[in-house]
Symmetry: C2
Subunit: 347 residues, 2 copies
Amino acid sequence: MSVRASRHATLLEVAREADASKTSVSRYFGGERERLSPALRQRIGEAARRLGYRPNQIARGLKGGRSRLLGMLVADIRNPYSIAVMHGVEQACREHGYSLLVANTDNDPAQERTHLALLASYRVEGLVVNVAGSPTRELQDMADQGLPLVLLDRWLAEVEADVVGLDNPLAIDMAVDHLRRQGYRNLLFLSEPLGQASPRQQRWQRFEQRLADEPTLYGERRAPPLGGEAVEDVVRDFLARTGRSAALLCANGNVTLAATRALQALGVPLGEVGLLGIDELDWCGLVPPGISTLAQPTEAIGRAAVQHLLARLDDATQPPRRTLYPARLNARGSTRLEGLNDNKEWQ
Amino acid sequence: MSVRASRHATLLEVAREADASKTSVSRYFGGERERLSPALRQRIGEAARRLGYRPNQIARGLKGGRSRLLGMLVADIRNPYSIAVMHGVEQACREHGYSLLVANTDNDPAQERTHLALLASYRVEGLVVNVAGSPTRELQDMADQGLPLVLLDRWLAEVEADVVGLDNPLAIDMAVDHLRRQGYRNLLFLSEPLGQASPRQQRWQRFEQRLADEPTLYGERRAPPLGGEAVEDVVRDFLARTGRSAALLCANGNVTLAATRALQALGVPLGEVGLLGIDELDWCGLVPPGISTLAQPTEAIGRAAVQHLLARLDDATQPPRRTLYPARLNARGSTRLEGLNDNKEWQ
DNA sequence: GCTCACAATGGGAACGTTCCCATCCTAGGT
DNA sequence: ACCTAGGATGGGAACGTTCCCATTGTGAGC
């Protein structure tokens, strides 16, 4: 009985201790216990416990190529949407015996490339990607090498991979319908600058399309920079020209935040000017009279991403799938034109 | 020239392609380029580029024990505080050539144990731990095995490890000072149930202590469950008994959220009853007239955690350090007794 | 009683690195 | 010219697994 060295016990040590072969011990921990006789099984179990043995995942990953690691590349880790999805991804990983290696790019395309390479070097078995730029080349290479890939929310037309996210056209339809039903007639669609982000583009386009089909509605689209006074200016201008029954439709959480600030700065009461945001945020219920939102089923989206990965790990040949979820409407005071209006929408 | 197999190029293949030995290639990628002659260096560089070679971190980790992985165990990944700190940790990791393996326990002690074991099995070189329960035994074992450990925010008295977090007594002092200066005289300290969480206990104790030193102030402490009506009841009761110049001091972000809801439900205007929260949140500036907070320097805390890890990796013998940061006061409308009061505090 | 299938077990070669230790060569000191 | 120090390079073992392929033992079928 020696002083416990400050190192980890190995498979071989357990084998010796249990008077078994390393193969048997490997089987014990590799989920093939039923192949072992009860006696041997017990000896190994005890020896392992005595030695505090834990299989070394690194070594495991090396031999079998099974790193049991899934990677997630996040464009902006501070975005509540990303977090919520990540939570779903992480849970699903855990349930399937995987661990999650997270890389955050802070929306920097250069970092994105670096991190992609990094994740690859850890031989992750699959990758959930929320792209910032357009690392088309890198992603296609990885896909070609047989690495299962899921594009989250944002997708790249050129990359053949599964896509999981929100049904954006439907979300815009729901938004426009809701606003119209609540009595708003002049809609301002506010987005962040479109850039490469596919959801922004989709929402932007669908809004236009939808407006064309609605003779009773008037609409405009703007994508001002979120930083300075731009949002406030745009909103002030719009309200001045359209007067009553105006509403803002915010394309994502950041915009909702900026728009809320702008309306507060302009001294316009929420509801009198409608405000509907895509993405649910903690505080939306708190700003009186409550900000209406279209919530994304983030948890489900995260889990779905992992499921796609696992399915593809199982059968690499499936054609790319696209899984889109509907948004859920949280109607609050910010889309009630007059305090005593119809209350049917409320839940 | 063969069809590129769907596998990764290996060190050996690069060596063959460059007509060099694997040792030389290993040196090239292991940061010992200066030991190679310029000619060889160039050959290897070109061969590697041609083959798209990337060192396999898994294999690296196996031989040298250098997994280049740092682990982070988070009690609640959806908590904005955790996220913010994680962002700092992740950045610091990246800057030092490490990757981050994140595990979320959802505040479940059982999961916590599991995940701790999991992280260990990936042979992370250091661990940032934001404990949920009291995995004292596991942590001490890991520390004994020579694994650098940093306790984040919450600490366990029994575990010998570095601690990084907020200077809680100082934060309470700042809070009490600010509230007194703003004219509040009756303070209600609201916390989540204390449990094992050291910061909650520290804040709770310091409040009592501080109140004892302030004859001009009256104070009470409560830790109601956050779920139902309890917070509202506690607040209503307190306000009924103390009347004017009452203020709530919220021990963390969750409590601030609950307290804000309660005050809104009671129809009490913010400011008339003071509200000061520990932890800055996105929406604190949005709820009129703005909620005052004590912000934690989360980014710095995250970076400090990694620095401690690296320092200990460098010299395992250092005694445990404790690094505490002061909070920063964001004074807003919720701690202005009357609209036209002194404005000195505003920034 | 002999063969054969099959269950239980073990030996050894990978996996892709790192690192210790040669080996070779050249230039400098004598 | 000879010895040697030291720079450049390479060979091989190890890291802790998994997995292919034996090797043993046991009872059923003939």
